[in-house]
Subunit: 446 residues, 2 copies
């Protein structure tokens, strides 16, 4: 049984394709999501379907695999079964790959003001909020309030935060500026706030410096060493200073999916399961935890396996090899333990801007950007999705446009997202301003 | 001021591009939706963004046009203003084009069991419900219950009902059959229930007969002269017979958007405004109502202008010409009144199946299908959307696949849509069946 079909779960299932076993994949979504491109959904460049592929379709030809759409609520390690949608499903081997959720570090109340971006629902919500901010700015008569609508604050400068802030800036400057008559979206402020000393802390410091320079060239305001101490409906507090914004996005960190708590075993930082060197739950050699939900220090390098897709994929293939060997009764790699191979890292900042690390080779700029695109299109699951993403990127590159500028899922007629009912009185929403005061259209801009 | 940016509103705005006036377009969505292809979103063939284009982008180069995202709640004809999001916005001329909503003919309580399909939210909801039905069938142990999950009932055989039922049948038979191990989706029943004597009642009877034959070849069960007398959480009642289904879709008719009631003028059938021959509200020559919200008997033909995109577009252009002439102080066509020109009708039933009427020329089959596709791609707004739709159709045609098979927006872990809390106890949802009883995978099918 495989719970969760992200990179870890999917690669486990595929690696078991010739194993003499019934493989049951359970996920609460009917699709595998290519999370590295989720930020492009939030920025209206890609449609959700472009980066999602039905799990059934991926495993269509794998005859030993079955797929079940259900939410796993609890894992019973001793009873060897999981509880999913009020029923109990037994397993012989379990690979738990539930992934991660946003980590608000004890401030869950910030979630409603600063949504994170871990699934399609959240990404389309953020897309709607971003697009609505520009709409609100267009009809806002008050100058300060309009500025707050045109200020975007991204908390946390990991890859998602970096990519998102660059992409929002480009959206405002290159894509939509000519669509608005009153609001000058080219003057939109995008602020990337990071508690640590550099952006992309998981990469080497020269890549961080390179990405920082690229972000600043683009016009993103980066604040380093600036921990966010409070989040409000209309902004954040950073080092005693209050920054106003109606659009705060949380990319400051992740924690393991809450399902790990049901295991009844000790958890490490961020709710991760402290697994044995063979990725199994201590005392339960038939139950593996992989990917973002696992905490494992690689004995060879002395470093924790990072919470990236490569780590999840490698752990999944390792667990599959163990299971396959044991079911066939041949010697397995279990005693050797799992070892992570770092194949490199990359992040993109925007049009023709990216940083790449391949072993000791670190580079940025156009070449890095092309490498980033090539890798992401190649790794993306599904022929159609590859074509669609490639076509969308070419379209955006040539025409400076984005194909998925839809505001959906919010109450009709509300200009701003109804995320913060409690503090809504703290500011006057643009929607309640007399629109008759809407400023006249200025002279056409160049 | 133009309220609503469907076909009527958009064509009014465009026709006013050289008029010496400030054109303000108000819509509660930020996009113009190409409704004729909405059913393809519901059937997972197209992504929502493929058939929606931001209104701002469409009107980007029209310097006299401004766009406002807001919900118009009331029209004050005497005060010459509208109330939108708690503010009052004045107008000199008004073109009201709010479109239509589903008509449950006094049975609003049926809406929760049988959603309609008038906007993107509804279409993605129906998509999720359809896809979840197949998922529920896959893990359902009870034979009768599984059959109910694999039965799709479409109420109303207008163009949307015909297109939807054909497309669902093709989805079940051609697209997803090999993705499932237990449920034989090729045996899914699709029932099209129509109170009247024929399908596509707005077309000529030879086209109806042609479409009926095409539907039956495809395997859709069509029942004519069969009014639905009751809708339940798990089926419908037709002529005393109860048909079980967990997926009932309502395409039985439309009524004018509720905004028309705020005008304080007499309304015709379906809440439509009985407009003067020049499309204006009687007594208010500066206020026009066009499209699905207007009821107008064409003096020349003696027939009501049909609620189709052609009617809305022609009315919009007519109203724009009147306004333009009056603002310029030149003679207008007002006294002549509006006359509808029927440019033909078409509907598609499925792969290589369609019916077309062009004047006296009526034909069906492959040629009609190609004509249907060519027309829809051509009329679709936006270069990118045309390419995307065409590419999706070619992909579907060649590979028998569909690119947008996402279940979104429903509570995670719920197998079936939580539409009917009141009657939910009437049947046992599949999600609550012991999944351990899930039947074993059968031998691979050919």
């Amino acid at each position: 049984m495989i719970v969760g079909c992200g990179f870890g779960g999917l690669f486990t299932a595929r690696a078991l394709r010739n194993t003499p076993a019934d493989v049951l994949v359970i996920d609460h979504n009917n699709y595998h999501l290519f999370q590295p491109l989720l930020y492009q959904v939030a920025c209206a460049a890609l449609a959700p379907a472009d980066i999602a592929q039905p799990i059934r379709t991926i495993l269509r030809h794998q005859k030993n695999a079955r797929v079940m759409l259900a939410e796993v609520e609890r894992v019973d390690l001793f009873g060897r079964c999981v509880e999913a949608s009020d029923s109990r499903v037994p397993f012989d081997y379990l690979v738990l790959a539930p992934g991660a959720v946003d980590n608000y570090f004890g401030h869950e109340e910030w979630r409603s003001f600063a949504p994170g971006m871990k699934d399609i629902q959240e990404a389309t919500l953020i897309r709607s909020r971003i697009l609505r901010s520009f709409e609100a700015a267009e009809i806002e008569a008050d100058e300060a309030e309009r500025a707050a609508h045109l200020t975007f604050i991204i908390v946390g400068a990991g890859p998602t935060g970096v990519e998102l802030s660059g992409s929002i800036k480009e959206l405002a400057v290159d894509v939509i500026a000519r669509d608005f008559r009153v609001a000058d979206t080219r003057r939109a402020r995008v602020m990337l706030i990071e508690a640590g000393a550099r952006v992309l802390p998981a990469l080497h410091s020269d890549s961080s410096a390179r990405a920082l320079a690229q972000l600043r060239t683009l016009g993103v305001e980066v604040r380093l060493g600036a921990p966010v101490t409070q989040v409000f409906a209309d902004g954040v507090e950073v080092g005693g200073e209050r920054l106003r914004s109606h659009n705060v996005i949380w990319t400051a960190g992740v924690r393991a999916a809450p399902l790990t708590a049901s295991l009844g075993v000790p958890l490490g930082t961020g709710g991760r399961v402290c697994v044995a060197p063979d990725c199994s739950v201590p005392g339960h050699p038939q139950a593996f935890v992989i990917g973002d939900a696992a905490y494992l220090v690689d004995a060879a390098s002395g470093q924790a396996v990072p919470g990236v897709s490569q780590g999840a994929m490698q752990m999944g293939r390792y667990a599959a090899r163990l299971i396959d060997a044991e079911l066939r009764g041949i010697p397995s790699e279990r005693a050797r333990g799992f070892h992570y191979r770092d194949k490199g890292s990359m992040a993109t900042v925007g049009r023709s801007r990216a940083v790449v690390e391949l072993g000791r080779l670190h580079f940025g700029g156009l070449l890095a950007w092309l490498a980033w695109m090539a890798l992401h299109v190649t790794v993306l699951i599904g022929f159609r999705n590859r074509l669609a993403v490639l076509a969308s990127w070419i379209y955006s590159y040539v025409f400076f446009r984005r194909g998925s500028r839809l505001i959906t899922g919010l109450a009709p007629g509300r200009i701003h997202a109804p995320l913060a009912p409690a503090n809504a009185a703290a500011h006057t929403p643009a929607a309640q301003m007399p629109v008759a005061q809407m400023p006249p259209p200025p002279e056409p801009r160049a």
